[in-house]
Point group: C2
Chain length 443, copies 2
Amino acid sequence: MSRPKPLSGFPEFLPEQALVEQRVIDIVRDTYELHGFARIETRAVETIEELSRKGEITKEVYTVKRLHADPHDAADLGLHFDLTVPFARYVLENSGHLNFPFRRYQIQKVWRGERPQEGRYREFLQADIDVIGENELAQHHDLEVILVLLATFERLHREVGIAPCLMRVNNRKLAMGFYAALGIEDTMKIVQTVDKIDKIGEAGVRAELAKLDATDHQIDQILAMALIRTDDPQQLRTQVAALGLDHEQLAQGLDELCDVIATAAEQFPGRVIADLRISRGLDYYTGTVMETELIGMESLGAICAGGRYDALATDGKRTYPGVGISLGLTRILAPLLTKNKLHATRSVPSAVLVAVTDDDNRSQANGVAAALRARGIACEVAPKASKFGKQIAYADKRGIPYVWFDGISGSVKDIRTGQQDEADAHQWTPAAADLHAQVVTAH
Amino acid sequence: MSRPKPLSGFPEFLPEQALVEQRVIDIVRDTYELHGFARIETRAVETIEELSRKGEITKEVYTVKRLHADPHDAADLGLHFDLTVPFARYVLENSGHLNFPFRRYQIQKVWRGERPQEGRYREFLQADIDVIGENELAQHHDLEVILVLLATFERLHREVGIAPCLMRVNNRKLAMGFYAALGIEDTMKIVQTVDKIDKIGEAGVRAELAKLDATDHQIDQILAMALIRTDDPQQLRTQVAALGLDHEQLAQGLDELCDVIATAAEQFPGRVIADLRISRGLDYYTGTVMETELIGMESLGAICAGGRYDALATDGKRTYPGVGISLGLTRILAPLLTKNKLHATRSVPSAVLVAVTDDDNRSQANGVAAALRARGIACEVAPKASKFGKQIAYADKRGIPYVWFDGISGSVKDIRTGQQDEADAHQWTPAAADLHAQVVTAH
């Protein structure tokens, strides 16, 4: 068997990288739970029918079929390509057992059969939150999910050293009302064109809008609005008013956006901004929309995005409006880990290696390990009673900071400093920073 | 859109069930890490070539293919059906970056295209540990992985109320040596026949052995050995000796088994037994083999199994021997959760609902929530400033034990007792048992 090669688009991590990933997942999960979001997991597969509801995304679906199924049968299952479609199905399927408004988080892999390229993956981890109501959902939940994500990014910045975020927020009603006030009928086309501004630039958008038969005046106005960008709600009102358009939907969207920005920018200054070019291409958003980048790492793209939708799903009798955000963990972590910008201080959970003095007396070392574990200290026992220098090298290679010698009432050596002290395995604790592997940022 | 129906064989949990599952996963993960096992995750897909190495299992594989791939192209990817094949591939692929002996755990979903039936799933969660050496791996690691699993089951029993386990251990060398001493050549066939004894009974095994041309004497001896079952190493030696056969491999296997049982039964009395009928059907095991049941829930089958293998993988130059055990979390949890034998005290992480007195002053309630979260207390803010009775009912429906009123210096009510006390949101903490949802066992 020759050495297997990685599959392009399916990133996998070494143990020390997986430790960093786990730490990040733990922070995300903890923050979501502190805000009352309940974890669910959905199965990896959905019916092709369910996956096809959104139309064009079906081209990226991986189908799933039993190897010995009739080769002429069409596949009727596919891997989920996001966590929104499965969640919509889960809500409909279980609505009688859920309490609304329902806050849920989901941290799971998703799959897309895309051509792999820099920053695009075929398998990647997402961490979504949504708040879903039954028939109605109050406006303040838009602010809620934004604050949860800003709190998450703040912890990832402070606790793991990931770059701080900038969340760019807009409101679909504001844009739709504005375009309607300009006399444009197919407003969705305009939304999708303006959405490309960061990719194709102002001139590109101008050219595409012209092809959609927008007049020069309309194009000027659309671009003038798209370039508004401020974290000051008063400024926002002034700049939008300066464009001189009046429309009920525009006014409502502006109010909603000002409310969100006012509180979010106050609580997380410098991390959130109203940016009227943001529109998200998907047509199911109906209010607040947001995109997030990491400051100084904009090349990673929007590593977090979402918005408000009036109907996540409907079963005919009831509709389920909601607001949600999706955080792309693999899109953040894979580049940072691969380029070694983040790494862990060790490759194993063990804080201590218990040395073995005599192969016939492993039970002594096992007893020390049991005493340490009983107090939450991860450890492992040396595989062989080799010379102590070799056992210390075993620990060093794995980044294990301490080596224990000579039984319960023994001694413990910090192999980084060489300091060795008498210690009792029922009492001793490592320095707090050594209990678990730490994440280190390279600059 | 009508209400979707569950897919048979793909279990999903409600939020309060998912809380129980998460708690179980956390205990398993914590125990594995305390023993120095490092987490890795492998991608969900492997090449069909990789998945086919073990031959007959390929019939259960789910293939994966892009929806718009040429329908005539054979699929070249499939979902992994266990975590051993992906781990073998991972070790070969990354061997230059791993330190051996390498302890890893993997808690991931696996997929099998089986016909769904009671206790069989098409998607299920496994939690595996393995210790892998490069070219060699000391015998004591067999005992190590057994002790890790026994410690895991003990915590699941004590902390979550899952039934205690009985691990049945045997040794492939003992069996192979015994059959060889009886003059049998195709010993693997005998192993696979004896493995069915719990399913088809002694008479069934007798009949199948006769078809394999075993003599009456050989059949008597095979069954006499298969019926040996004791947790006393001395008894084990005596009973095997009484069969009157002598063989080097038999003696070596017996020594290994006695060593394992002696320590394991001493540390976990009543939880582990030498049981010479256990053989595991797979042909790659070469020493210790084990199977685990839950006492009183034997109908769930072997919810945990594994063994020693001399070559997990080889790249021509090096071989990677190992020993590992796989824990079937879905096989344990799905029946217990579905029959409501285990449930959580609430359906959300929130320990506190912060009541809202005035819809225009949500920021007061948000401030309380922020103060509680800053000290690790999960909470949510009421969606509406409805009558307090209604807000309390909101908490009650979700199992949230406390409702907070009137700002940072406010009061908190335990809605189970009705007791309401003044409290400061920067100081107050819930009873320790209320901080997180608890798992409750129904008897």
